[in-house]
Amino acid sequence: MRILVLILLPWLAIFLQSTIFSFLSIKGTTPDLVLVFVTFFALFNTAEKGSGYAFFCGLLEDLYMGRFIGLNALSKGLTAYIVGRVQGNVFKENLFVGVFAVLIATALNYLFLFLISIVVFDVFHIDTGMLHHILYQAVYNTIVAIPLYIWYFYSSNRGVLRTSGRVK
């Protein structure tokens, strides 16, 4: 059941991003729900598991978009790896930790996207419009992370996402 939910989460996130959230966009920016779930997963698991799951989620997004396949997979995988590396040192019961992790993950994800674009395509065009998108998305992700983290935390402890009965 846990595996099924973990597979359905990114699928559902892409569906919501392409439909409901596209109509609720803030200045044309939608939240990255896939990244939010990936961050939470990395926060409650090891860096290795987190990066593997994030890679799968990013790949699903890439295959849906059909362009630059591997770009989101790699950036999200690397972002989750970093989140997973620090998860052992943070107090996950605190809502602020989850929300702050999403904020940092958004910045990291964009940083990796830029770096990968520079490595693969030699150049990346960055302008103020793009910076605005990043800023709006960081805020939007942080807002949607609040209810989602509460749900994810309880699901990981007592709900459908529980592994061995308690958070590692």
């Binding site: 392409s18 439909t19 995988g77 395509f121 419009g129 793009m130 998108h133 998305q137």
Partner: protein
């Protein structure tokens, strides 16, 4: 240090990074078709996305009656109770009138252009799930005759181009996407050939490569030139809002407000009879 290199995760990570970079590079260029896996993934979304799209249309139609509640309250003060009922009914009819007007406009556009190109009407079912790309998904796919590369327009102007097709849906890259470029001319003078490129912003386009002697002015309408061989000529792209000289002094750059309101786009037409040259070139290769 050696221990680090003996770590299996390190080698797996390195392998995944290398494979990803190679696949990314291969899929960065224009592909003649998307893979079977991509088609399957995309088609799993179509029924739900179509459902949400039609639910939203119905919802908008119903809530429109109640959105103008404050206006109706003012009317209650002015009119008799009898008129109040009529006013409410009128609100609903207004919404149907708007829809009828929109569809009538589309029909006129369809009739006016069907000699020039074959148009396939399509409903927008989803938008890009991330902010990286400016694209939409339409509820028509290869089963309905949509092919990669076909231009997409609306009665207001140029929308974009079909980027990839699955059985029942197609992904359309909007002209506002960073990777899109359209050959364009000024409709008034018809002398300047420039390139309109997307900025990743649904409210703005940029026209580059305009010679310094061009008589381009604010308010000029920009249309497709037809030189790009992808888009038919004469399709409205937008209006010039600002003209600035390039630092080298030889060229001008103009900011364009798109003719199409991409945030409110609901129905589009796919030009099915107009095939881009590059697709054939790719097949010949």
């Amino acid at each position: 240090m050696l221990k680090f290199f003996k770590n299996r995760f390190f080698w797996a990570l390195l392998l995944v990074i290398v494979i990803s970079l190679v696949v990314m590079n291969l899929t960065a260029a224009q592909r003649s078709n998307i893979t079977f896996v991509e088609k399957i993934i995309r088609d799993t979304y179509v029924p739900l996305q179509s459902g949400v799209s039609s639910f939203r249309s119905n919802w908008d139609r119903r809530t429109a009656v109640f959105n103008d509640k404050s206006q109706l309250q003012q009317q209650i003060k002015l009119l008799e109770e009898k008129n109040n009922q009529l006013a409410l009914e009128n609100q609903a009819l207004q919404e149907y009138k708007q829809e009828s007007f929109r569809l009538h406009k589309m029909l006129n556009f369809y009739n006016a252009n069907r000699e020039n190109y074959d148009l396939l009407p399509a409903h927008l079912i989803a938008r890009s799930p991330n902010n990286w790309y400016e694209s939409i998904t339409i509820g028509r796919g290869s089963r309905q005759g949509v092919q990669k590369g076909m231009p997409v327009i609306s009665p207001s102007g140029l929308v974009g181009r079909v980027e990839s097709v699955s059985e029942n849906s197609a992904q359309v890259s909007l002209i506002t996407d960073r990777e899109m470029a359209v050959g364009a001319i000024i409709q008034r003078t018809r002398e300047t050939n420039g390139i309109v490129e997307g900025l990743g912003d649904s409210d703005q386009l940029r026209m580059i490569n305009i010679p310094y002697y061009s008589k381009i002015n604010e308010g000029d309408r920009i249309v497709s030139s037809g030189l790009s061989t992808i888009y038919p000529p004469g399709i409205n792209i937008g209006t010039v809002t600002e003209v600035t000289p390039e630092p080298n002094g030889l060229l001008l750059t103009a900011m364009i407000k798109p003719a199409v309101d991409f945030n409110k786009l609901e129905e589009v037409f796919v030009i099915t009879s107009y095939h881009p040259v590059e697709v054939f070139e790719e097949e010949e290769e």
